[in-house]
């Protein structure tokens, strides 16, 4: 092969300028449209997070000192329980088990079958409840709290808000904390605030919605074991 043959072969496949420009403009239009869709998606997620944060049941149940970093407002457990009573919610202790059914509202709700329900206050709760995973269809909701945790054997303490109060398509919506033995394990998973209450650090296993990473997200702020009897006293005094 000589250089002439080479250069001749190299110049035999020139692109068509019109086709290049057509492809360029088509790709540019597609890119603009895709960026618009992404921006719209982000906006929807942000709006969903704001809606979740401002909902009555959420603000009523928000607690814990760590503040905005964990997505929780500061409301003491005493005040939280008082608001639950006054707002028509039920407070229960039960064994919960995920059924595998989910419903997507402003976020994804996971159905939980409730067994051995003991209603501490409010209307009796039977059957199923729904827990919020603080996840939307696209993943965790920015700014939301750590999610939901319960005991490995299903034990949980819960405030059960009826759908009429939460405005959700499913209900009751449960705000839960694990019950291990005779201790309720409070943390930022559920936005619980135990400031001022006698508590012990808890380091055992807990259950969470698969893939939610709730344990890891709540761990930095610690797990606080409070005797169930103390919680019941708070409830009766609220």
């Amino acid at each position: 092969m000589n250089v002439e043959q080479l250069t001749s072969a190299l110049t035999a496949h020139d692109a068509d300028p019109d086709a290049v420009l057509a492809a360029f403009h088509a790709k540019r239009r597609r890119g603009i449209r895709n960026r618009g869709l992404i921006a719209g998606g982000v906006a929807v997620v942000i709006v969903a997070a704001v809606v979740v944060t401002l909902r009555p049941w959420t603000s009523a149940s928000s607690t814990t000192p760590p503040g905005p970093a964990n997505g929780c407002a500061v409301t003491s457990l005493r005040d939280t329980l008082a608001m639950a009573r006054q707002g028509g919610a039920s407070v229960i202790v039960a064994d919960g088990e995920l059924t595998g059914r989910t419903v997507t509202d402003t976020q994804i709700y996971y159905q939980m079958a409730l067994h051995s329900v003991r209603t501490l206050t409010g209307p009796a709760i039977t059957g199923d409840g729904w827990i919020a995973g603080n996840r939307g269809p696209s993943g965790p909701i920015p700014g939301a709290d750590a999610g939901a945790l319960w005991a490995p054997d299903g034990g949980m303490f819960a405030i059960a808000w009826p759908a009429t109060q939460t405005g959700t398509t499913v209900g009751p919506v449960l705000r839960i904390a694990p019950v291990v033995g005779d201790q309720v394990i409070f943390s930022t998973a559920g936005c619980w605030d135990t400031t001022g209450l006698p508590s012990q650090p808890y380091h055992g296993n807990l259950a969470a919605i698969p893939g939610s990473d709730a344990y890891a997200r709540a761990a930095p702020d610690g797990f606080h074991a409070v005797p169930l009897s103390t919680v019941e006293q708070l409830l009766s005094g609220s």
């Binding site: 092969m1 043959q5 080479l6 001749s8 072969a9 496949h13 020139d14 068509d16 420009l21 360029f24």
Partner: protein, 162 residues
């Protein structure tokens, strides 16, 4: 100079360059439009450069070299009987055969080596310019050039830039 002015002025040369680089018209159109898209997004900065055309060629080269994964998706596999191409026919001529041979040898080059060949023999670029375009050392350029020449069985007629 606006981006549109630049494209109007340089599109002809760029289509030749990209065609030589890819050896495939459709692929060249895809690669060049991708590269122009990247350039359009950063045109303000590119326009301020001493030699925007060189930067754009460099972008075309890097787009081509990083295009392997996309290429796998885009390319089709010929389903015809390729052996027919090797059978003697009544219109066969020495020129056609020689041209086919050149095309075949070029198609067998790794992309880096082909890019070096195009930049050297079509654009007459120096080792330093090629190294800059490919983001490698001049030693690597010389190595690619040496291997490519051997693969192409290119007659050892040094270009003025060597």
């Amino acid at each position: 100079m606006t981006f549109d002015d630049f494209v109007r002025a340089e599109l002809g040369a760029l289509t030749k360059f990209t065609g030589a680089l890819t050896g495939d018209r459709a692929l060249a159109e895809d690669i060049l439009s991708d590269a122009l898209l990247k350039i359009a997004r950063r045109w303000r900065r590119v326009a301020g450069m001493d030699n925007p055309a060189a930067y754009v060629r460099r972008t075309v080269v890097t787009t081509y070299l990083s295009d392997r994964r996309k290429d796998q998706r885009r390319r089709t596999v010929p389903a015809g009987d390729l052996a027919t191409l090797d059978r003697p026919g009544p219109d066969a001529s020495a020129a056609v055969i020689a041209r086919d041979e050149v095309e075949r040898l070029l198609a067998g080059l790794p992309r880096q080596q082909r890019a070096v060949i195009v930049l050297r023999y079509l654009l007459d670029e120096t080792d330093e310019q090629i190294a800059d375009a490919l983001g490698c050392t001049t030693g690597t350029v010389r190595s690619h050039l040496s291997h490519a020449r051997a693969a192409l069985r290119l007659a050892a007629t040094p270009t003025p830039k060597e």
